[in-house]
Symmetry: C2
Subunit: 272 residues, 2 copies
C-alpha cells in the first residue's frame, strides 16, 4: 500500500456534498466507488474539507492508500487518473491530479490553508448557462462598501456570529487571511468574493458573504461587521448565502509534501 493525493473538481449540484451519506451520492463516495471499481477492493478516502450539498470544488484534496499494481511496477499516474475518471466523471467528479505522498500526509490534518471563491451575478436577467453555478441577485451592490466590510473581517476574531448553529467546532476563534471582493474586469455584473483561512467554521464563508451582501445592498454600514463580532450571535448576521455560488478552489500543504515531477498536474487544470 502507498498513499496518494487526489486533486478534485466536482459539480456540487449533482452531489449531496463531500461527506459520506447513508443514501450515497456524496463526492467522497463517488471517489471511493470509482477507486474500488478500478482496484477491485474497498478503498477509503479522506478529504480536506467537508463541502456542503450544492458547493462546488475546483481543487478539493483527498488522500487514500492504494495497493500497488499486480505487475510490481509503480502506478502510471496518467492511467490511474484516467481510470478513476472513467467511473467518476459521469457522476460529476473529475480527478485533476494524482500524486504519491508520504505516509504521514493527511488531506485534512496536513492542510495549511483553504481557498474559497463565491460568485454573485448582479445581471438583471438570470444566466441560464450558469444556472446553479452562482448566486443570482439581480440587484446592484455597493462594491466599495463590501470591500470595507471585508477588510474588517480579516485577522483573528471570534466568529460566533458567522457560524451555523449546528457547528461542532470547539472554538469559534478563526484567523481569516484573505477576504476580498473583486469585480470582474470584463463583466460589470459579475462579483467574486475570495476567502482564505487555515480552517473555517460551518457555513462561515456563506454567512460572511450573506452579511457582506447586506452591506452591499446598503442595509448596514461596513462597521456593522464589528457589531456582529461583538454580538457573538448567529441571528444578528446576514442569511447564509446559497450553496450554489461557493467553490472550494484550492488547499495548501507544506513543502514536506512536494509534488513529484512525474505527476499529471498543471495549476491551470483547475480553471477549465
Amino acid at each position: 500500500m502507498a498513499r496518494y493525493k487526489f486533486t478534485l473538481e466536482y459539480d456540487g449540484s449533482r452531489l449531496v456534498g463531500w461527506q459520506r451519506q447513508r443514501g450515497g451520492g456524496s463526492a467522497q463516495q463517488v471517489l471511493e466507488q470509482a477507486l474500488s471499481a478500478f482496484l477491485l477492493q474497498p478503498i477509503v478516502v479522506e478529504g480536506a474539507g467537508r463541502t456542503d450539498s450544492g458547493v462546488h470544488a475546483l481543487g478539493q484534496v483527498a488522500h487514500a492508500d492504494l495497493p500497488e499494481p499486480a505487475n510490481g511496477q509503480p502506478w502510471n499516474l496518467y492511467q490511474l487518473r484516467a481510470s478513476i475518471n472513467h467511473f467518476s466523471v459521469p457522476h460529476g467528479l473529475s480527478v485533476l491530479e494524482v500524486a504519491p505522498v508520504a505516509d504521514g500526509f493527511h488531506a485534512r490534518f496536513s492542510a495549511l490553508r483553504r481557498h474559497y471563491c463565491y460568485r454573485i451575478s448582479m445581471r438583471p436577467s438570470p444566466s441560464v448557462l450558469l444556472a446553479g453555478r452562482q448566486w443570482h441577485l439581480a440587484q446592484p451592490l455597493d462594491l466599495a462598501a463590501m470591500q470595507q466590510g471585508a477588510a474588517r473581517l480579516l485577522g483573528l476574531h471570534d466568529f460566533s456570529s458567522f457560524r451555523d448553529s449546528r457547528c461542532q467546532a470547539k472554538s469559534p476563534i478563526r484567523s481569516l487571511e484573505r477576504m476580498e471582493v473583486v469585480a470582474d474586469m470584463i463583466n460589470p455584473y459579475q462579483l467574486e468574493l475570495w476567502a482564505t483561512a487555515r480552517s473555517f467554521l460551518h457555513h462561515q464563508v456563506r454567512i460572511m458573504v450573506g452579511s457582506l451582501v447586506q452591506i452591499g445592498l446598503g442595509r448596514y454600514p461596513p462597521s456593522w461587521i464589528d457589531d456582529l463580532f461583538a454580538a457573538r450571535d448567529r441571528k444578528q448576521a446576514g442569511l447564509t448565502a446559497p450553496a450554489e455560488g461557493l467553490y472550494l478552489v484550492a488547499v495548501d500543504y507544506g513543502a514536506d509534501t512536494p509534488k513529484p515531477p512525474n505527476s499529471p498536474s498543471h495549476k491551470s487544470d483547475r480553471l477549465g
Copy 2:
C-alpha cells in the same frame, strides 16, 4: 400591435434547437409560450438563426409583434422582460434585452452578420462544471497550424465541402469575414474559435471547426483547406464538431434599427 426585438441567451443542452418542433421544446417555442402565457394570446416569433439542437446562444435575436398594454401606456420594457423570463428561464431561455423596432425589422432578413464562438478544452481531465458547454478533446492541438488553416478559410469561397448533405441553401458560396483560433490567456487548455459571416451554411461552423481540429492534430497541413475548397465534397472534410461547443454570440443589424435609450440592455449582459 408593435414590433419588438428580443436578445436571447439559452442553454442548448436543454432545448431541441431554435426551430419549432412538433414535440415542442425548441427555443422558439419556449419564447412563444412565455409571451403567449403573459399576453394571453398566441404570439409568433421569428429568429435570426436556426441553431441546431445542443447549440447555445449568448445573443440570439428574435422579433415579434405584440399588442399594446390594456392601459394604453407603452410597455415598461424591464417589466416585460421580467415577465417573459418568469416563464422562460425555467426552460433554459433568458431574455437579455427587449427593444421596440420599426415594423420593417426582421430578425432573420435584416441581419447583417452572425458571430459564432466554438469552445474546445484540451485539458486531460474532463471538466464536470463545463460538461455540455464545450468540446472536450483532451489532446494537444497545434495552435499555429490551426491559425494558418483558419486564415485560408477567410473570404469568398464555395463552401460545398463544409456544408451538411441536408443543407437546403441554393448557393454554397459564402463570404467568411472572421475565422480566428484564440488561446485562452489564463488557461492553456482552453481554445476558442470565432467565426463571423453574413450567413452560414448548415453545419458550416461545426464542419470548419472539425476540419481545423484535424489540422491541429497534425493529420493534415493547413493547405488542406485549399484541397477541400477544390474538392467540393462534404466527405473530404473533417467530422462535424459536437453541437455542445458552439455558441451563437451575437447578430448585427444596421443603423436603421437603433437601440432605443430606454431599453433594458447592456453589451456585457451577454457575458455572464
